[in-house]
Symmetry: C5
Subunit: 328 residues, 5 copies
C-alpha cells in the first residue's frame, strides 16, 4: 500500500495511487511525499512506471544511509538530503525528485522535518517570489539542515566543561567522552560537507536544476550560508577537542610530576633517617660500649643528628621550591 | 596459449586466437577478457599486432601492481582499475582497453569480480539505455570498487572495540593493531583516490572516452559516488585511529599516575613507620634504660605513635582525594 | 521608535521616520545608521516596506551573531561585517544594505566603530575620488576590521611570556591559558576568514557590488590586505601555541626525569647502606661474638664498608653524568 | 676543453667543438651531452655564443643543486631534472636545453642515468612514433625519475622492521633512524613534487614545449604517472613514519607502566614486611619480655603475621590483574 | 630635507628636490631611491604632488612593517618587497613605485641590498635585453629575496646538531631553541609566501605591470624560482623541527624508562635483603636462642640466604634483558 501525503493547492491528502495519478495527469504544481517504510515495490513501481524517472535514480532512492548528493537527469534533479533526528533513528534522510512541475520526496518512517515543512509551506513569504518547487526543496532542505544546530548546540558547553574537569582531575572516562564527541563530529561532517558542496555547485551555476531563477538563487545561497556555518562549527569543535586531548595528557603528566616529587621528598627524608637509626642499631661491641652508652650520645647522635638531617633537607627542598606547590 | 573468455551476444566462449580474430573482423560488439598469468608473449602479440593498440599501453598492460589511471589514446581509452580481493592475493587489478566497438580486459590469475560481471551482464537494466562498452566498463569497475566495502566494513566495529579495550587495559599489541589498520587504510586510499579522480575527470568531461553519452554519464556518476563514499570512509577511519592512538598514550599516562599514587601512598605510610621502629631499635643505653623499659612506653611510643602517624597520613590522603579512586 | 542616525551632506540628524522618508524621496546620497536594539518591528517595517529590500535580506538583518558574508540582490548588496569590541559585548556586528544611492547599516546597541566612521567621514581624502557609498562601506568595514588588531596585539608577548614561564616551571594554569587563547583565535578566525573571502570575491570581480569602479577597487584591496594580515597573524599564533603546548609536555617530562634521577640516586645510596646497617644489626650469635666484638671491626666493617660504598656509588654517578645536572 | 658526447644518427662521438659546430650547421637531429665538471667557461661560451641560448638560462645551467623546473623561452625549453644517484654524490642532476632540432644536456661528473639512455636510445620503440627530441627528453627524464624507485624500495621493509623492533624494545637509536628516514623523504619530496608539477603543466598544455604532439603527450603522461606514484609513496612513508614515532612514545610509556607496577609490587610487599621485622626488633622492655619471649610468639608474630601479609597482598594484586602481565 | 639617491644614465647623484624635478621633466629613464628616515612630509609631498601617485599608495608607502604585496594603479604599480637584514633591524623593506618611465623606491635607514643593486646595475647583462624599469625592480627584489638564503643557511646544520644533542642528552634549553627557530621560520614564511604569490600573479599574467614583455617575464620567473625554493626550505625545516620536538619527548621518556629500571633493580635487590636482615634482627627469644646461636646458622641463614636471593634476582633480571642495557 502506498503511504504518504499529496500536497496540492494548500491541502494535504493521503497519497493513494489514484490521487497521485490524477495530480500527475493535471497541470497544477504538487508535492508528493512518500514513506517507503514497507518492503513492497509500490514506490519503485510508481516512480519508475508512472513518473518515468530513470531506473538508476529510482534504485538509489530505495537505498537509505546515502551520502548527500545532487544528480542531474534530463528532466529532473535527484537530491539526497540528510539531517539530524536525535529522537528517532539519529539521522533523517530525504530523497528528492524535483522537476519543473512537481516535487517527489521519499523518506522512511517518521520524519519530523517534513511535518514542519508542510506547516510552514502555507504561510511562507517565499511563495510570492520563487517557483513552487524551489520553495518546497528550500523548506525541506532547510528543515533538515537546521536540525543539526540543536544537535551541536551543547558541544560548546560540553567542551568547556570537559576542559575544566580535566584541569581539576583527569580521568579515563573523559578520554572516552572525547572519542565519542570526535566520532559524532566526524559523522556530522560527513553529512554536512557534501550538502555544502551541492549548494556551492548550484550557486555557482555548475549544476542546472529545474526552476532555477535569480530569485531562487537567493534561497539556495541562504541554505549554503547555514551549511557553511555548520561546517565551521564542526571544524572549530574538532580543533578544540584536539586541544582538550592534549590538555589531558599534559595535565596527567603534570600531576605525575607532583606525585613523584612527593615520593621523592618522602624518600629523601626517611631513607637517610632510617639509615641513621639502622646504624645505631648495629651490634658492634665497640660502638655499643663507647659511643652509645653515655647519656649525651642519645641526645646528640640519636636525636640531634636526625633533626639536623631533617632541617638540612627541608632547607634544600625549600630552595628548590618543592614545598608549597600544588598537591594534585 | 591464450587464456580468457570471449563474451559476445550473451554467450561466453574460451578466448582462442581464431575466435578473437573472427570477432575482431566482425562488426558486433564483444568483450574479451584475457588472463595474463603465463609468461609468454601471446597477450602482448595479440594486443599490439592484431588489435593495434599503442606499444606504450600494451607494455603497461603487462605490468601489474599499477596505480589506477585513465590514459586516452586516439582510438581507445586505457583504464587501470583496482579492487580488494582478500581471498586471493589481497588486491584485484584489471587493465581495460576500451574502444567504440569492443572492450578488452587483462587480469592475472583468478578474479572474482570479473566472474560476477559476466553473471550480471545478461540481465542488467543498463543494457537497454547505455552503449554496451559503457555497461561492461561500468560493471567491471563497479564490481572492483564495491569489493572494498566488505573489506572496510568491520573497521568501524574494530575501532570501537579497540577504543574500549584501551580504556580497559592498554597494551603494546593494540599499538601493533593500530599500525596495521593505518597501513591498510593508506593502501586502500592509494587505490581509491586515483580511481575517484579518474571518475571526476570523466564526469567533468575533461577526459573524452569512447561511447560517452549523457545517459552513460549517469553510470560514471554512480561509480564516482561510490568512490567518494569509500574515500570519506577511509578518511574518517584514519581520523578515528589517530584519536585511538592518542587515547592509548593518555590512558597509559593516566594509569601510571594511579600506580605512582599507590606507590607513594605505600612509601609515605611505611617509610615513617619503619623509621619509628628503627628509632626504637637503636642501642643507645640511655634510651633503652629510661625510655624503653617502662611498660607504658611500649603502648605509647611503640604502638600509639605509629597509630597516630597512620591516622594522620590517612586523613591527609583523604583530604587530597587519593583514596577511593580507580585502581588501574 | 526608530533609533539611529541619518547622515546626509556632512550633517548628522536623528533617524526619525519622516527624515528618512524625505531623504529616500530626494536624490542626494545619504547614509542611514539604525540601532535595532528594541524588539519592535519598526526597522523591519522601514526596510521592507519603504526601502523595498528583499524579505530574506530583511529577516537576516534582524538576526545578529551571523557569519560575515556578502549577498547580491538585484538592486542592492547585503553585507554582514564583524569586528572586535572588547569593551562591550566582545564582538561588533554591522549589517549593511548598500545601493547605488544610499547605504543603510543596522547594528545593535553601542558600536564604537560606527561613531569613529562618522568622525572620519567628514575629512577623508577618499571622498574626492571614490563614490560615496564605497567610502562609507570602506570606512565602516575598515573600522571593524582594524578593531581586531589591538585585540590580538598582546598575543605575541603573551605567547613569549608563556613559553618562558613554562620553561621555568610548567603548571596546569598555563594549559588553561593556552586553551583560552586557542579558543579566542578560533573565534577570531571564524570572523576574519569569511570577510577576507568576501573581499577576495569583490576584488576578483566575481561579486558585482553597487558603485564599483577601478578607483573603488583600490579601497577594497586595502581592506583585503588588512584582512589577510589578520589571518596570517591568527595562523602564526595558533602555530606558536601548538608549539608552546608541546613545550609544556616536554618540559614536564624533562622535569620528571630530573626528579626520578634524584629519587634513584637517593635510593641507590641509602638502600645498600641500610642493608649494611641491617646486616650488622642481626642477632646471629657467631657474628656478634666473632665479627662484631673486636674494636677494629667497627671502624672497618661499620664505618669503612659504608664509606667505600658511598664513594663507589658517587664515582659511578659521576661517570654517568648524573651529578651536577639541573635540579628542577 | 669540452667534455661530453655528441649523439647523431645512432653514433656517439666525443663532443669536440668542431664536431658540435658541424652538427649545429647541419640540419639533422642531434643530442649533445656536456659534462660541466671543469671550471672553465667553455660550456658557457658554447651555449651562449654558438647555440644562442638566453644568458639567464645559460647562467642557471652552470649552477647545480637546483630545484626541478621548466622555463619556456622563445626558441627553446629549459628543463632541470633530478634523480637519485646513491653510488656517486647522492643525487643526479641534468639541465636540458631542448629545441625543435636538437637537445643539449648539461651534467656534472659521472651520471649513470645518461649512460643508460644512450644504450636504450638505439632500440627504443618510441623512435618510430615520436619526434626525436621528445624521445631523448623522455628517456633522460625517465631514467632520472626511475632512479628514485630503488632508492625508496627498502623503505617499506625498514618501516615494518622498525615498528616490530619498537614493539619489542624501544631505543633511542630508533628515533635517530626515524629522523634520518624523514629527512630523506623530505629531500626526495623536494625533488619529486616539482618534477610532477612540471609534467602536469606540460600535460595540461599550459607549457608549450618544442616537438609536442598528441603522440608525444603519451610519453609525458607516462612520466607523470611515475612521478605521481613516487609522490604517493613518499607521502605514505611519511605517514607511516609519523605513526612509528607515535608507537615509540606509546610503547615506552607502556613499558614504564610495567616497570612501575613491578616496583610498586616489590615496595608494597617488602615495605610492610620490613616494618614488621623492624617492629619486633625494637628494644621495648615490655615487648621483649612479654610478647617476644614465648616460643609460640615467634611462629605466630614472627612468621605467621608476615605470611598473612604476603598472602593478602598477593590476593589483592591478583584481583587487580597486576600479576601475570607482560614483563617488559 | 630629502635624502636618497637619483640614478640616471649610470651615474648616482644625491636626491635633491631640484634634481628629481628635472629628471621627472625630462624623458630619460631614472631610478629615484628615497630614504624616508626623517619624520617630515618631504617624501609624501614629493610622491603625491609632483609624481602624482594615488594618495592611498603614498600613505601606505610611509608605513613600514608591511606584508609584501603588489597593487596595480592606472599608471603605476606599487610593490612592497621584504628581505632579511640581520646586521641592522632584522628585516629590510623596500616600497617600490614603478611606471613606464621611472622607478621610485622608498626605504628607511640603511639598506644593504639597495647599495648592492646600484653596484650591479652598471654591468648586469639584463640591461641589453629587458626594459630598464624591469631590470631595476628585478635587481632590487632579487637582492632582497636572496638576503634570506644566508639567514637560513645554518638551519640545516643547527637542526642536525640539535637532533644529535637531544639523542645524547635532552634538556629544557633545547626546547627553547626549537621554539625560537620555529618562530623565525614562521616570520620568514610570512614574508616569503606573499612575495612568491605576487610573482606567481605576475607570471600568470593576472597582474599587469608596467614594462612587462616576454623577455621581462624570464626575470620574474627567476625571482619566482628563488622564492619557491625559499618557501620549500622553510617548510622542510618546520617539518624537521616538529620531528626534533617529537624526538625530544620520546628520548626523555626513553631515559625515564632507563632510570626507573635502575631504581626498580636497586629496590628489587635491596628491599628483600633488608627484609632478611630485619628478620634476623628481631628480638624473638626463640629465634635468638634456637636459630641464631649455632655458628652454621650465620653462614647459612645470615650470608647464604642473601647470596641465594641476589643470585636469583640477577638471573631473573638477566632473563628479562634488564642488565647491560643503556645507562642514560
Amino acid at each position: 500500500m502506498l503511504r504518504g501525503t499529496l500536497h496540492q493547492g494548500d491541502t494535504d491528502a493521503p497519497a493513494a495511487t489514484e490521487n497521485v495519478l490524477a495530480a500527475l495527469a493535471g497541470s497544477a504544481f504538487f508535492w508528493l511525499d512518500l514513506d517507503d517504510v514497507e518492503p513492497d515495490d509500490m514506490v519503485k513501481e510508481l516512480l519508475q512506471t508512472h513518473f518515468g524517472f530513470h531506473p538508476l535514480a529510482v534504485r538509489t532512492a530505495e537505498q537509505f544511509s546515502q551520502r548527500p548528493r545532487l544528480d542531474e537527469y534530463d528532466s529532473f534533479a535527484y537530491l539526497v538530503a540528510r539531517g539530524a533526528d536525535p529522537d528517532n533513528s539519529g539521522t533523517a534522510e530525504v530523497h528528492c525528485f524535483w522537476t519543473d512541475r512537481y516535487v517527489v520526496t521519499v523518506h522512511k518512517g517518521d520524519c519530523e522535518a517534513l511535518a514542519q515543512v508542510r506547516e510552514r509551506l502555507r504561510r511562507h513569504p517565499a511563495r510570492q517570489v520563487a517557483p513552487p518547487q524551489i520553495v518546497v526543496v528550500y523548506l525541506v532542505m532547510g528543515a533538515l539542515v537546521d536540525s543539526f544546530f540543536p544537535y551541536l548546540s551543547d558541544f560548546d558547553d560540553r567542551i568547556d566543561a570537559l576542559e575544566d574537569d580535566i584541569l581539576k582531575r583527569p580521568t579515563d572516562a573523559q578520554l572516552g567522552e572525547i572519542f565519542d564527541m570526535k566520532r559524532t563530529l566526524i559523522d556530522v561532517r560527513k553529512l554536512v560537507a557534501p550538502q555544502r558542496d551541492v549548494m556551492a555547485t548550484i550557486n555557482a551555476g555548475v549544476a542546472d536544476v529545474p526552476g532555477m531563477t535569480t530569485e531562487a538563487s537567493h534561497y539556495f545561497r541562504d541554505l549554503y550560508d547555514h551549511l557553511i556555518r555548520l561546517s565551521d562549527l564542526v571544524d572549530s569543535y574538532r580543533d578544540l577537542l584536539t586541544n582538550v586531548m592534549d590538555t589531558h595528557l599534559s595535565t596527567v603528566s603534570n600531576r605525575l610530576n607532583v606525585v613523584m616529587k612527593q615520593l621523592t621528598i618522602i624518600a629523601t627524608i626517611f631513607l637517610p633517617l632510617s639509615f641513621l637509626t639502622g646504624f645505631f642499631g648495629q651490634n658492634f661491641a665497640y660502638m655499643v660500649r663507647v659511643w652509645l652508652s653515655p647519656t649525651w650520645s642519645f641526645f646528640v647522635l640519636g636525636i640531634g643528628l636526625e633533626l639536623v638531617t631533617v632541617v638540612a633537607l627541608v632547607i634544600l627542598f625549600h630552595k628548590r621550591g618543592w614545598l608549597g606547590g600544588p598537591t594534585v
